[in-house]
């Protein structure tokens, strides 16, 4: 297990290299010139050139890239082109917000998904099952910005139960977390249902029944524990798309997290900011995947043997 974790941590280095390279290249290909945008409308050619010189933007590409990488490994993500503040400072302010949003979203994904999946699986093809699965299908097919706007319209504008946007109180978390977690919850629900239905037909569940165990013990102790093994993997995958989703949801609900930071930075071609944001998001993703793999092994000791 220890060796396994060590190996996985070592894999982070190529991930950093790959992600920065890809982002770096994409930002080069996007039309628009950061020096021109930075200098503002109506700036003279001389001003723009001076800016370019100061920012090191006229050096060859590979040189720009390698000096960036060297700095990153020393914990220096560069400064924002916009206000010359260190990128890392900005990230440290915004990361907790995004993490909080992600945490509550994944909580909704897991809790809502499991409950719905179990309800469905207990009575397959009943009305409750069909109802849950129709809602789940909607949850998967609705784009999250659309769901976000819908929720905002109903609960904030019409009913006025919850704040429209921002990130000041616990009430502010509810709608964005639901918006972001809903799609995942739907996928987890479907996975839990099919996994439970498969497990319930297994011989060991019949054994549990033959022992005279109560129905809830059979479901939660004997069936669910086994059914969860594939669900864990799905939750891990969901976390990845959830990180992508923060970009949209933070924009819809005007939350100053990493996602919105990246979008704003792309708009102003603030390359160090974009790179820093994407790099941090990738690192979080890699760590969460590692966590999921460890959990998978804890739940399913059989694979540790091989």
């Amino acid at each position: 297990m220890f060796l396994f974790i060590l190996k996985r941590l070592a894999q982070i280095v190529p991930v950093i290299l790959g992600v920065t390279l890809v982002v770096f290249l994409i930002m080069q290909m996007v039309p628009g010139d950061s020096a021109v945008i930075l200098a503002g409308e109506g700036a003279s050619i001389e001003t723009v050139e001076e800016l370019r010189e100061n920012l090191g933007l006229n050096k060859p590409l590979y040189e720009q890239y390698f000096s960036y990488i060297a700095n990153v490994f020393q914990g220096d993500f560069g400064n924002s082109l916009k206000n010359n503040q260190p990128v890392l400072d900005e990230i440290m302010i915004r990361l907790p917000i995004t993490m909080e949003l992600a945490f509550f979203s994944i909580l909704i994904t897991i809790v809502l998904g499991l409950i719905a999946g179990i309800i469905s699986a207990i009575r397959p093809y009943s009305l409750s099952d069909i109802g849950v699965m129709v809602v789940a299908l909607l949850g998967i097919s609705l784009p999250s910005f659309w769901l976000g706007l819908l929720l905002m319209y109903v609960f904030s504008i019409k009913l006025q139960w919850l704040p429209v946007a921002g990130w000041d109180s616990a009430a502010h978390i509810i709608l964005p977390a639901i918006t972001l977690g809903a799609g995942g919850a739907a996928i987890v629900a479907r996975m839990t249902r099919s996994s439970m239905l498969e497990v319930v037909g297994q011989d060991y569940v019949r054994t549990a029944r033959a022992k005279g165990l109560k129905e809830h013990v059979i479901i939660y102790k004997h069936a669910l524990r086994n059914a969860l093994i594939p669900v864990i993997t799905v939750v891990g995958l969901q976390f990845g798309s959830l990180l992508g989703g923060t970009v949209l949801v933070e924009s819809v609900f005007a939350i100053n997290g990493i996602g919105r930071m990246i979008v704003d930075a792309i708009r102003t071609r603030d390359i160090p900011m974009v790179q820093g944001g994407v790099l941090i998001a990738s690192l979080v993703f890699v760590f969460v995947n590692l966590l999921v793999d460890i959990m998978y092994r804890v739940f399913n000791k059989r694979i540790d043997l091989n």
Binding site: D203, Y204, T207, H222, N300, R302
Partner: protein
């Protein structure tokens, strides 16, 4: 206390009802099980042995399965009519079951000791500690070395033979009155099989439970059983003491089965096999279900189904050959040929 009837099954019918039609998997089974006695149920695969045993604990997958008729009396109380809650208190406590597949019948993520202990806590009200100790004791009793260590392991760390011993320990933990063993050794190799059978006989002497032993292996029947019911196409076609069955099989099907055993001392060139196929449970013929494969079949066999008749004390058979009508018919046949 021996000879006292613990379980009596009367006219049990378990059918599977689906779009494909009605599969009469179990179609009117009767038997009696006495304390301390072993009743064997033999028959080819698919004849309804497992469905009979699952019906007793009402573990038939439902839908599509359903007990459509009959009574299952445990000490005179009908399990078919019981509420689920009442039945739950009987399962694993008064009636236990061992299944054919030791590899898949234990929960893969729960330590085996806990899988035994949970039944003890439930039915005997033991504390966590007491149940665990009893569980370890049971694991030792079925002949697994270092039971304390094994109890903490999960099934994947145990061999097939050991898992089946765990199943036996689990089934017998609450000292049931009836143990149903559905082909408990079929999946195991021969030496392990012999050990498991030894353990079952041993524990039967200690606990005194009645055993319903389901198998398709006549060798195992001879070794284990006092009484034998021979099943064919969802019905019992012959019922005898196992001592007399091998010497004097009555039903042509049983005769075929016993004839198909390789005999050690006889110079037998070929295994005798019964020709033809078993009729589909969706579409049984009107007459005797074995008639199509029976070397003795007459017109009456194809027309009408024979009843299970008392041939002699402790001997029952479902065959026209042993009826008065058969005698009459055959004498008239002889007259025609003369």
């Amino acid at each position: 206390m021996k000879n006292e009837v613990v379980l009596e099954v009367k006219n049990l019918k378990t059918h599977f009802i689906s779009k494909k039609g009605i599969a009469k998997a179990v179609d009117g089974i009767d038997f009696v099980l006495r304390r301390g006695e072993t009743l064997g149920i033999v028959g080819e695969s698919g004849c309804g042995k497992s469905m009979t045993s699952l019906s007793i604990l009402r573990l038939i997958p439902s839908p599509p399965g359903k007990i459509v008729d009959g009574e299952i009396l445990l000490n005179g109380k009908d399990l078919v009519k019981m509420s689920n809650e009442e039945l739950r208190k009987i399962r694993g406590n008064q009636i236990s079951m061992i299944f054919q597949e030791p590899m898949t019948s234990l929960n893969p993520v729960i330590p085996v000791g806990e899988q035994i202990a949970e039944a003890l806590r439930l039915h005997q009200g033991l504390s966590k500690r007491q149940a665990w100790d009893k569980s370890v004791e049971m694991i030792g009793l079925v002949g697994i070395p270092s039971p304390e260590k094994r109890a903490k392991q999960e099934p994947f760390q145990l061999s097939g033979g050991m898992r089946q011993r765990i199943m036996i320990a689990m089934a017998l933990a609450c000292t049931p009155e009836v143990l149903i063993a559905d082909e408990p050794t079929t999946a195991l190799d021969v030496t392990i099989q012999a050990q498991i059978l030894e353990i079952m006989k041993d524990l039967q002497k200690k606990i005194g439970m009645g055993i319903i032993f389901i198998t398709h292996d006549l060798g195992v029947v001879a070794e284990m059983c006092d009484q034998v019911g021979v099943m064919y196409a969802g019905q019992i076609v012959e019922h005898q003491n196992s001592a007399t069955l091998f010497r004097n099989p009555l039903h042509p099907y049983t005769q075929g089965l016993i004839g198909s055993l390789p005999k050690l001392y006889e110079n037998q060139e070929e295994l005798q096999i019964i020709e033809g196929t078993v009729p589909s449970p969706y579409d049984y013929p009107d007459g005797c279900r074995f008639a199509e494969r029976c070397p003795f079949a007459q017109k009456m066999c194809i027309e009408k189904q024979p009843e299970l008749i008392q041939y002699d004390e402790d001997m029952k058979v479902r065959c026209w050959k042993y009826t008065a009508q058969w005698q009459e018919e055959s004498s008239s046949r002889e007259m025609v040929t003369q």
